[in-house]
Symmetry: C2
Subunit: 340 residues, 2 copies
């Protein structure tokens, strides 16, 4: 198992990527290849650990030297085409050439999507790859597909999102018969815009053939009850959904903390219940649920959260190893071979 | 000031509507007219208060007897056309005839929208009326327009939503220069689907002429920071947004309560901070922000939440009185007269 990690991607790189890799390597079998500027990485290693090179910390972590970086503000297609020696493009190339089993990056999301599609390539039969993060739900997570890869979708795309989510939830989360719902503004089949009404019909017709437990239309309020495993939607609505969850999560954290600290009396009184509050905040923090997978590309690609810290890189690397080991991508390939 | 209240509408009617009216009448000047079945209402009054009629409690509450009821499962257009003597249709009729100043109902949302449009009528120049609830944000509320009245929209509709929100926030919330944003999946003007891209252009072009402080595209994560006063979107996306907030709000409440009660030790420890937690839950509960207004109809109509209890009806009735008194509807009329 070889995990390729874009050492330069994300708001806290390369410190957080290095620390995350060092922490994760102790718990995973296999190697981590860091793509990035060797000098910068080793300088940081010296700063953090007082060692000359990262190999002195673990001989299972290596650096693949690159000279460029894709920035958050770069235009995705241009960046992927022009920055051939960037940590991201090189990561994708190593993955494609079989020099690694999975690629993890917290870099520019649009560039990641472009790279996944242009360099690694779509699975034959999958019209549109999708981004699939896990969000917090009651006592477990809920998968969102598509979270923003495809602004404009057709019903066939949504059916394929459901097929891929189904395989993924079965293989990685060991859910026997994942409950998959279509995000709508009511549960009746006449509800929604044209895309959703047509997608409903298609899903209803094809679900059985694909072994999908399609539970019909669901509303945002149903998504977090713990009874639904995947929410299927177009990338525009899905991205609004994702960012609304994120925004509300921040509001919750901020308001709760301030409520408790409103005056010293309350703060002192609140101290005993802080572990519970922390546990709660953790449940609500969707970042705890790790990175988002790119479903529908030829090899496993995981998008880490842009603001990932050491802990989250550690978690996302382990998740990526699990994703690669599960063979989900090959099963998705077979699923789509049947049809084509 | 005469407030017409649909006594039979909502999950907890008529008990919650009666109690809410009795509580609200003490604090408002004017009268409340309950539309609904007189026998059922007075029987409930006897049960709750031990009085023969509601007039014995307050001579400023009267009943306008109706014999039918629109159910939650009724098809909106049919219900409005066929149930002429329902508490909802009669409420709308009284409003239209000037026998009341504002109509409040927690009944079937689709029927309310149909009734508002068909019976009360659109304001001249407003192509599509919209539903506008207030949602929790940091230290204040944020208005969402449209929350579900119009599944399919054109750019002109979104511009008009912004115009109406602008008047409303100035008049009712006394916000000098409300910050109005367009809900999108990125802040750049090239982002989003065609509707949103075109709406962005139109809003940017026309905002100044209408005195709108258009702050451009916003994402769901920006909506709750307290820096935005209104989120403009189509009814499909808006309804997904609203219900996601609702669902996540419930998850927060449930998870937090259970985190604190996990074991008796924690529960006892948590007791001192309970007032803070309650204050927090209240901030997060979007129902605390009252009913949703119908913007763009000839007279003030307020949709109370379907699951409203006594407290929420009390609050929504007061909000409705405020809405009617503010003259917002007349100002919206003038705003649109200018253009037509």
């Amino acid at each position: 198992m070889k995990i390729i990690l874009d050492a330069m991607g994300g708001d806290n790189a390369p410190e957080a990527t290095i620390k995350g890799a060092v922490k994760a390597i102790k718990e995973i079998e296999g190697e981590i290849i860091l793509t990035g500027n060797e000098d910068i990485i080793n300088k940081k290693v010296k700063e953090i650990y007082g060692k000359e090179t990262i190999q002195e910390i673990s001989d299972r972590i290596t650096i693949y030297n690159t000279t460029e970086e894709i920035k958050m503000e770069d235009i995705p297609t241009q960046a992927i085409k022009n920055k051939k020696d960037s940590s991201m493009v090189v990561g994708f190339r190593l993955l494609k050439e079989g020099k690694g089993d999975v690629f993890v990056s917290a870099g520019n999301s649009g560039a990641l999507l472009t790279g996944a599609t242009l360099i690694v390539g779509r699975i034959k039969g999958v019209d549109r790859p999708a981004i699939a993060p896990m969000l917090p739900s009651y006592k477990k997570g809920v998968m969102l597909v598509d979270a923003g890869a495809n602004t404009n979708c057709k019903p066939i795309n949504l059916l394929q999102f459901a097929q891929m989510a189904n395989v993924y939830l079965k293989k990685i989360y060991h859910i026997k018969n994942p409950a998959i719902g279509l995000l709508n503004i009511g549960t009746e089949e006449t509800k929604g815009n044209e895309l959703i009404r047509e997608s409903y019909k298609l899903l209803k017709k094809e679900a059985e053939e694909h072994g999908i437990n399609f539970i019909g239309n669901i509303e945002g309020r149903d998504a977090f009850t713990g009874e639904i495993d995947a929410v299927i939607t177009d990338g525009f609505t899905g991205n609004v959904f994702l960012k609304t969850v994120e925004g509300l999560g921040r509001l919750v954290k901020r308001t709760l903390t301030e409520s408790l600290k409103k005056n010293i009396g309350t703060m002192l009184c609140a101290l005993p219940s802080m572990p519970s509050i922390k546990r709660f905040s953790k449940t609500m923090d969707y970042k705890e649920y790790g990175g988002a997978l790119f479903l529908g590309v030829q090899k496993p690609v995981v998008k880490a959260h842009g603001s990932s810290d050491e802990q989250l890189f550690y978690y996302t690397i382990k998740q990526a190893a699990n994703f690669a080991k599960s063979g989900t991508v090959d099963i998705i390939k077979k699923e789509f071979e049947k049809k084509t």
